[in-house]
Amino acid sequence: MHTLLAITLTVAATFASTNPGVSRAPQSVTTSDVRAVKIYDVSDMLSAFGPSFPAPKLGVPEPLGVEGASSEGRAHEPSAAELRAANAPVLRGLLSAHLQPAVAAEQLELTPNGALIANLLPAQHERTQAILDQLRSFDGMVEVETQYLRGPSELLKSLELDQTAVLTTPEALAELEQRLAECKELERIRAPKLTTLAGRRSSISITDEYTFVRDWRLVRAEPGAQEIADPDIAVLRTGTALDMRALPLPGDLLDLEFELQQSELVRPVPTKRIARGATGREFEIALPAAETQRFESRVLLHSGTGVVLVGSSSDPAEQLVVLVKARRVER
């Protein structure tokens, strides 16, 4: 049946392609504007990108013990096929972001065995090959440093930190860092730094844990049909997290994909008395709240430069700014 259907549809395609009114008209097609299919073996690269894992989620209460469960999942050693499947979107996303003109999803197909089937223009094939060559030949590491800063809008404006911007040269970055060093009023929250292999997903988080009782339930247990109170304990993690992947590109460029989080517990934490059971026994629970700002971004930077990301807080006295710097370093 497969053969029959294949023949049926192939015939339809043949008729369509030989219809004189459709495609037989002579066209002035040059080799530079005609797409061609090329197959690239990228299985080594997809494996080298390493395992993927969920980014830490700050500011949302989780049942006690969840962190242990996730690290157990991380310990599982993924197979080569799993790595290729997990990392295929990474390579497709990278190429899609840097090929001009923009490519449709079906133009870049990655098979489960790690073959990239690309239906592209010659110039796009050249870029694809250059990107793949750079990813393969790069044997250094990428260092990403972040600074979480906070201050009133007016102060940030005077430091030219009031708008999200790319620092396109190392000189512009050095000038900004000089201004920051001289400013004593700005609150420096944290400055996590990561040095990672190219293409590897990396994550660092510096967190505070607030463990609290969020509910009680009464359990009737033997002997004596006792009514025992069982607490529902949760953990609220706040702090700073950086989750990123850096990919070197030709020309000293870095494609940086990252998620930054800054989360804080709102103090004081309110409490509440609740009644449980037929007798109405009273218990106290905590009702904590956490405010989190999350930046999900992808940037293209020259090595040794950076980007300034400005939060969108509704409070002008408490604006969050994150400075992200990236550079290539030798192993």
Partner: protein, 173 residues
């Protein structure tokens, strides 16, 4: 002609073995030699997908009709491909995979666009409290707010009514 025949035979073998034809090294080589085959394969696969769902609902009589039509088309295909083999293909025709891309004419540069820039940015502010999680998202100049879900057991909610709210407000940024 032999290449096409060889290609479809191998595709058929792969399908019969429940394998992805593109995993076959020989098929990959044939596609790289004649990229038009990939488009043909894609068309067939697309057609198969479209046929698969309605196929299950069709009566046996309808299946017979499809088979008869397919057989007729198969004969036509053999006739058509023989013509190709006789060298009667129009020299002016282009391979099915060739597509003129107007945008490509404007893009003469083969170099990577090296302008440092932000390719994507999404900022999300979250407030998680006893009532649930409220997210305010700022992306592409649009601020959207949504009440996601409760993080606490229902018994501790204040108020106890669970609700969902969404709003989208252009910020003009």
């Amino acid at each position: 002609m032999n290449r096409r025949k060889d290609f479809w035979e191998r595709v058929d073998e792969a399908w019969d073995a429940r394998r992805d034809p593109l995993e076959d090294a020989a098929l990959q080589r044939l596609i790289s030699e004649d990229p038009g085959l990939l488009d043909e394969l894609r068309r067939v696969e697309r057609g198969l997908r479209e046929l698969r769902a309605p196929q299950a609902r069709r009566s046996g009589w309808a299946r017979l009709m499809i088979a008869a039509v397919a057989a007729g088309l198969a004969l036509a295909w053999i006739w058509s491909t023989r013509r190709d083999g006789d060298g009667s293909r129009d020299a002016g025709s282009t391979s099915p995979h060739t597509q003129r891309d107007a945008a490509a004419l404007a893009s003469e540069s083969h170099e990577l666009d090296a302008t440092p820039r932000i390719l994507a940015l999404r900022i999300v502010n979250t407030l998680a409290d006893a009532r649930g999680v409220t997210e305010v998202e700022l992306a592409s100049g649009v601020r959207s707010t949504r009440f996601v879900a409760s993080t606490a057991p229902a018994s501790t909610l204040e108020p106890r009514l669970l609700y969902a709210l969404a709003s989208v407000v252009p910020t003009g940024n």
